[in-house]
């Protein structure tokens, strides 16, 4: 028998367990967070329930559908234009009032809605009594109780979804706005209905309601249509601001007439969550707690990882040895040992760091602390021309700038978002850490930790000053308003954190497995091909990674550009390859100096005269600031949608890097430090 196919969309406010429910339905792995708007991408999954194949689309979390943010536009365009068979709205049972506001808007869109009353257990345990039968009667929408994090109620929900999709007729729900507004709605409906292009695509009442709501996105659509002037003449007769307020008020009023009848004792009282909040946002304790949280996250990421990293290092050192010994052909032995095993080792060694960092970020997000971090930091962020919400993407940048830049989608204002994207690469990502670890370890001994900390701080300072500079010049204007929910604290689940950690880790590995490995092998190949005019065999001992190979040629071409910074041709080559991925800087230096993956041997060569502490410091700073890796450039292009801004970011960073390294080298030489 042919299977029936339906498409459902998951909608809901942020922090209501939408992602968890998506995972419970589809079994797909996806990040679960507590930061408002964490689901920025459209995710889909499949589930077969009985004889129905269900395509599940996870919409971005939104409070409303008024086109205030990109998330809202994405969500409502999907519902209006793709017309999913059923929209499942996940409603937080502990906060019906605000959650049902979105329900009123989904109803107006004319979609078939099924409510998943989630976190039912929490509402019940605090004494709320919600009568779902009555709720169904009043809203004329099926309501199913779910506890997404324990996968409870999923089958019942799917049963209801399939039944709803099967229904032939569809009842249009409406919010009644009262006589005055209704009169205007009818007036507008008549006008808008005349444009068949509009009325064919959107529900006419919804368009009229949105026009009175002052929805810019819809106003634009109408202005370009055949009825634009007529609509404007109606809108010019009303007090816009009064209507906007009245309509929001009416929607909440509609909810409030239903609420007392379906919910007994649904009142907010001081909870444990509020008590935690008093402490973490306290005038005196707030900032120390914030700093302590950040310090702890950093410390766990970098200290706990050390023994794991040593183990990975030992393993790959051993493996490279075994490979080289067991292959008689020296060319192949070198390729596999130095090139491939070395490359994989260079990738794997940072996996412990990255996993732990994302574990920390996940714990902060899922617990609800991330929103408080934005709350605590907002005043400071505002001063540098950003917004409290910019803090999270910047913090994520310490892990990897690629997801961090994608996380800027939660910033509603386009200009705030652009500035946050442009300065993000200065936040030192995990891939740059190996460069610092190796160089600082080799040259600064016991001060290595302080030097690395200083590099991180420098990145933050450059990001702040750049934000101020960009705000004052190319992206003028004040940061956008800060209107943010502080979600209740919740205990993060081990499963969600593990999924998050694994996802980020595998993103790193995938990137590593392909780009980094290819990069390292590419460097090896360049270093194995003889330079023009050199009479030697491919990959022969005497040319491998020397000036007599192709890589030497490339390095010499680049050398005049970096010699004012005290760098030689090998550094120039390493920096070029750092564009593929920053961690390759050390990997390719290893190949260039013929030490392969053995970092101790590389350190020995460098400290023996190949570099000075001064040039090592210059190289660290240059690595921090110059053009970010190719993946990061790609994501900046994707998120800004503009090559102009992408090029700006690349040129700006590289120029800063050159100036900073130049100053370090020249001043250091002049005062005789670290020469």
């Amino acid at each position: 028998m042919e299977k029936k196919k339906i498409t459902i969309a998951l909608a809901g406010n942020p922090n209501v367990g939408k992602t968890t429910l998506f995972n419970a339905i589809t079994g797909a792995r996806q990040h679960v967070g507590n930061w408002p708007g964490v689901t920025v991408e459209k995710k889909t999954g499949k589930r077969t329930y009985k004889d129905t194949e269900i395509e599940v689309v996870d919409l971005p979390g939104t409070y409303s559908l008024t086109a205030y943010s990109i998330d809202e536009v994405v969500a409502r365009d999907y519902v209006v234009e793709e017309k999913p068979d059923v929209v499942v709205q996940i409603v937080d049972a502990t906060n019906l009032e605000r959650n049902l506001y979105l329900t009123t808007q989904l109803m107006e869109l004319g979609s078939r809605v099924v409510i998943a009353l989630n976190m039912w257990d929490l509402a019940e345990s605090r004494g709320d009594k919600i009568d779902t039968r009555k709720m169904e009667d009043f809203l004329e929408i099926p309501v199913v109780k779910t506890v997404a994090n324990r996968a409870e109620g999923i089958d019942a929900l799917l049963e209801e979804v399939v039944r709803e999709a099967d229904k032939g007729e569809h009842h249009e729900h409406e919010v009644s706005y009262g006589d005055d507004i209704e009169k205007k709605i009818i007036e507008l409906e008549e006008i808008v209905g005349k444009d068949s292009a509009l009325s064919g695509k959107y529900p006419v009442r919804w368009l009229s309601v949105k026009l009175l709501d002052g929805d810019e996105n819809i106003l634009e659509k109408i202005e370009g249509s055949s009825v634009g002037t007529q609509v404007n003449s109606v809108l010019s007769t009303i007090e816009k601001e009064d209507y906007e307020a009245a309509m929001a008020e009416k929607r909440y009023e509609a909810i409030n007439t239903v609420l007392p009848q379906v919910c007994v004792k649904c009142v907010k009282e001081v909870t444990f969550s509020d008590m935690i909040d008093r402490a973490v946002t306290n005038k005196y304790l707030g900032i120390p707690i914030f700093l302590a949280m950040m310090w702890a996250a950093f410390e766990v990421t970098f200290t706990v990882a050390t023994p794991l990293m040593e183990f990975v290092d030992m393993f790959f050192g051993w493996l490279a040895g075994v490979v080289a010994d067991s292959i008689t052909n020296p060319v192949l032995g070198s390729l596999l040992g130095d090139g491939i095993v070395g490359g994989v080792g260079a990738v794997m060694i940072f996996l412990p760091n990255i996993l732990l960092l994302f574990l920390m970020i996940s714990l902060l997000e899922d617990s609800g602390y991330m929103a408080r971090a934005a709350f605590v930091m907002d005043k400071l962020m505002y001063k540098i021309g950003l917004n409290g919400r910019s803090f999270i993407p910047l913090l994520m940048g310490f892990g990897c700038n690629v997801p961090a830049i994608m996380a800027t989608r939660t910033i509603e204002d386009e200009r705030d978002r652009l500035v946050t994207i442009l300065v993000n690469p200065f936040i030192s990502c995990g891939a740059r850490l190996p460069v610092y670890l190796m160089l600082a370890g080799a040259f600064f001994g016991r001060q290595a930790g302080s030097v690395i900390f200083g590099i991180y701080i420098l990145g933050i300072i450059v990001a702040i000053l750049s934000a101020k500079l960009i705000r004052g010049t190319v992206v003028k204007g004040k940061p956008s308003p800060f209107i943010m929910e502080l979600p209740p604290y919740r205990l993060p689940t081990a499963k969600a954190s593990a999924i998050h950690m694994w996802e980020k880790g595998s993103i790193y590995l995938k990137k590593a497995g392909t780009i980094i490995l290819v990069g390292v092998v590419f460097v090896w190949l360049l270093s194995a091909i003889p330079a023009p005019g050199v009479d030697a065999a491919f990959a022969s001992e005497e040319i491998l990674g020397t000036e007599d190979s192709m890589i030497g040629v490339l390095g010499h071409v680049m050398e005049p550009l970096v010699s004012p910074l005290g760098f030689d041709w090998k550094v120039a080559v390493a920096l070029v390859f750092g564009f593929i991925a920053k961690e390759i800087v050390i990997g390719s230096m290893g190949v260039l100096y013929g030490t392969g993956e053995d970092e101790d041997a590389l350190a020995e060569i460098l400290t023996a005269g190949a570099m000075s502490p001064l040039t090592a410091l210059g190289l660290m700073v240059f690595t921090l600031l110059y053009v970010p890796c190719i993946a990061c450039v790609g994501v900046v292009k994707k998120e800004t949608g503009s090559w102009k801004w992408t090029l700006f970011m690349m040129v700006y960073g590289t120029t800063l890097a050159w100036i900073a390294a130049f100053l370090i080298y020249r001043i250091g030489t002049a005062i005789g430090w670290g020469v």
């Binding site: 409070y63 005043k379 800060f482 943010m484």
Partner: protein, 79 residues
């Protein structure tokens, strides 16, 4: 007590929203988030640096900067 704006209230005080001044999308977002005329609000506190502020509205915690809170005209309710 007479009408005032939300940014001027002390933590712990309660008030009823009279109207939201200003215009544009930020105002609409404030309305969407439940700060509608007639809504009851409690001032929970402020961030360590004094801004933004935290409110309890419609059963959840919302934060606004002083600049946004200033747009909200309220009638303080007795303690």
């Amino acid at each position: 007590m007479s009408e005032t704006t939300l940014n001027l209230l002390e933590p712990g005080s309660k008030a009823k929203v009279i109207q939201i001044t200003g215009r544009g999308s930020a105002r609409r977002r404030i309305l969407d988030m439940g700060m509608v005329p007639g809504a009851e609000i409690e001032v929970i506190g402020k961030a360590p640096m004094g801004d933004p502020l935290e409110f309890l509205v419609k059963g959840y915690n919302l934060s606004l900067r002083k600049a946004e809170a200033e747009l909200i005209v309220v009638q303080p309710l007795g303690a």
